[in-house]
């Protein structure tokens, strides 16, 4: 007969991923489980590492563009715009008004695409299967519009340094406008599928609560941060493109849980829709690409125009480095669907970056995942991976 003291239990180590239906790509989590409760969560990343930061050091600024849309491949244009904004600030390239509006419009279109993917995956992870197919149906409309715009459906390579690749057609604008007309009704349709559901409430309310201060300390950005009650949106704080010329609200959560982050993103659908509508209405005439901007024929050697930019935005102050007169560094952040996408570029005055570092929201969010998961159940891990909205291509770079 064993006495009670001799009976020992040990944690079950569960390797979740890199091939797992709910890890959205190649995230690997090593979970130590006590029964069904997660005691320790260790994320392992790097399965999709393609060396983009180093790789772009050997390419001229315009030719590095196709690397950038492989970061967050569900919101390709947003990454490209982030990169273009950074390089434009570095090289001091002006962007025509019309291009700014078109960029804002396309960025919001991919924000909807990305949030649709998030909603679909989040819902199917929690078990609500139908939302997936309803939302994917509407993403198709947007992808068709992108195809009409630039020929590509997913990896657009549409923006250029100093503008966009080609002008929009009237047919495209009509299509976008029609979409904005019917999209609010479609959002309501998604909400009726899950938002009244008691099981959905049970699975999301009070799960993964992270307060405002801790969320900032963890480096969360985007809707994940705003769900925690911090109204921080780079589109508002330091506007780029045409964001200072359109009206929109920043939805903020109150209870800092999975449900509030879900609500935040659902409200962002509506705000994005509003922005797209305004862009179509206000779209000015004119050029879409600055003729003086460096094109694909940019040479890797020293460039004449490389001068520190008079910074129009507060957080994009070019700093003169003591290393040499031509050395410039810049950090430029844009709001991509997942959060703050920052490009830190060190230039030595040539057509190629001396050093490039990309601050991606997914990387930051995955590093916060142990804080989210520990103490919760295995079933919640799935909901929590959904709530931080990660794409591994962006995390591993």
């Amino acid at each position: 007969m064993q006495s009670e003291k001799e009976i020992t239990t040990k944690y079950l180590t569960l390797n979740m991923g890199p091939q797992h239906p709910a890890t959205h790509g190649v995230l690997r989590l090593v979970l130590d489980l006590d029964g069904e409760t997660v005691v320790k969560c260790t994320p392992h990343i790097g399965y999709l590492h393609r060396g983009m930061e180093k790789w772009s050091e050997s390419r001229t600024y315009p030719t590095a563009m196709p690397l950038m849309n492989r970061l967050d491949y569900v919101a390709a244009v947003a990454n490209e715009i982030g990169y273009c904004v950074a390089v434009e600030r570095l090289l001091g390239v002006e962007v025509p008004e019309r291009a700014k509006y078109i960029r804002t419009m396309t960025a919001e279109m991919v924000r909807i695409c990305s949030h649709i993917i998030w909603l679909a995956a989040h819902a199917i992870d929690i078990g609500a299967m139908t939302v997936f197919l309803y939302s994917m149906r509407d993403r198709e409309t947007l992808l068709d519009l992108f195809e009409m715009l630039c020929g590509a459906r997913l990896l657009h390579i549409y923006p250029r340094i100093g503008g966009v690749r080609c002008d929009v057609s009237q047919e495209f604008l009509d299509g976008v406008y029609k979409f904005t007309d019917k999209f609010p009704k479609l959002i309501e349709e998604y909400e009726t599928l899950i938002d009244q559901n008691r099981i959905w409430f049970q699975r999301t309310k009070g799960i993964g609560v992270i307060g405002a201060e801790e969320a900032i300390n963890l480096g969360l950005t985007g809707p994940t941060l705003r769900g925690s009650g911090v109204a921080y949106d780079i589109r508002k704080v330091s506007p780029y493109d045409a964001y200072d010329k359109v009206e929109f609200d920043v939805p903020v959560g109150k209870n800092c849980d999975v449900y509030d982050r879900y609500r935040c993103r659902m409200d962002e659908f509506r705000q994005s829709n509003r922005i797209i509508r305004q862009c179509v209405e206000k779209l000015p005439d004119g050029l879409v690409l600055n003729p003086d901007a460096p094109g694909l024929d940019m040479l890797p050697g020293p460039i004449k125009k490389a001068a520190p930019v008079p910074a129009p935005e507060a957080d994009a102050v070019p700093v003169m480095s003591p290393a040499g007169p031509a050395f410039t560094e810049i950090y430029s952040a844009t709001e991509v669907p997942k959060g703050e996408l920052g490009y830190y570029i060190v230039s030595d005055g040539t057509g190629k970056p001396y050093r490039m570092r990309i601050r991606t929201p997914s990387f930051m969010h995955i590093s916060a995942l142990p804080r989210f998961c520990e103490g919760n159940l295995v079933a919640d891990v799935i909901a929590l991976i959904g709530t931080i909205d990660i794409v591994l291509g962006e995390c591993d770079r």
């Binding site: 709910a22 992870d125 078990g127 299967m129 599928l193 099981i199 295995v378 079933a379």
Partner: protein, 352 residues
Amino acid sequence: MDNYAIYDGLYAILGIPRDCSLLLQFIAIMINIVLVIAVVMLHVAYATYFERKVIGHMQVRLGPMRVGWHGLLQPIADGLKLFFKEDIVPATDFKAVFKLAPIFVVFAALSSLAVIPFFSTFYIANINIGILYILAISAVSTYGIIMAGWASNSKYAFLGSLRSAAQLISYEVAMGLSLVGIMIMAGSLNLKEIVSAQQQQWYGMYLFPQFLGFFVFTVAAFAETNRVPFDLPEAETELVAGYFAEYSGMRFSLFFLGEYIAMIVMSSMSVLCFWGGWTLPPVITNAIPQLNMVPGIVWFVLKVYGHIFVFYWVRATLPRYRYDYLMRLGWKVLIPLALANIVITSIVKYLA
């Protein structure tokens, strides 16, 4: 009830005299069993097709369309594919257990069919403890699931089978209790007599006086068959596939088969106990006497498919429960409700 004449239904169909030789009796029973299994298997195959079509249309898509007219041959194609797939057995010490597990599940599901009266004269066995038999035999499938999880040598399968064992045992209690009201009202555990007892009432279905029991039974039936929203043992996004994660080919399809037969059995149980089986309420048949001309099997199949449709509908609608909520629902909501139902039914029966 004459226990030796349990095959009277078949004798009536085949026109064999009651006092025929043992060999003839044996052959008759065998034919009956083969007939029931063949028909049910066909229904299982087309239940998957029905599911894919129903859910497909609920999810703004079409479901299977390629194999045959509107995908009608899809179940046969699926069956053939699974049959010819490579059968992989993981390197464990429990190969025999691994191979035995799916057989247990299918065995449990198929044996439940033995006591289900499909209509008044067609059943394999008419035993006095029909309900008890089904409850007991469907619990056997839990062993199959635990064996599968244990022998798979996989942590996902292990977790899935643990969840399943806990879930099935908890909901077994609620399901058993929910049927006690029926037993009290009908005064019998014999499924055939329960149906004829329902015919005695003008409303013809125990669904109305036993609505509490019906609610508990339906929820428990979802949990017993591991269907959404209680599909935690096989929660795809959490445990990949749960207890059958390591199974492939024919063995996998045996689990699948077991699940669908269990679904049909549970639907049949519900139809027999709450929906008046193969009969229509006397109120309706008195009003429209022509309905008596329709064979009982039609109503039975219609009711069963109506029930199965609810399974599919729920699957397309609801998210998945979390493990602790599932347990809370089972023990804190369903079992007290079922107990309250027993108390109320007993009091009403005593007073009446």
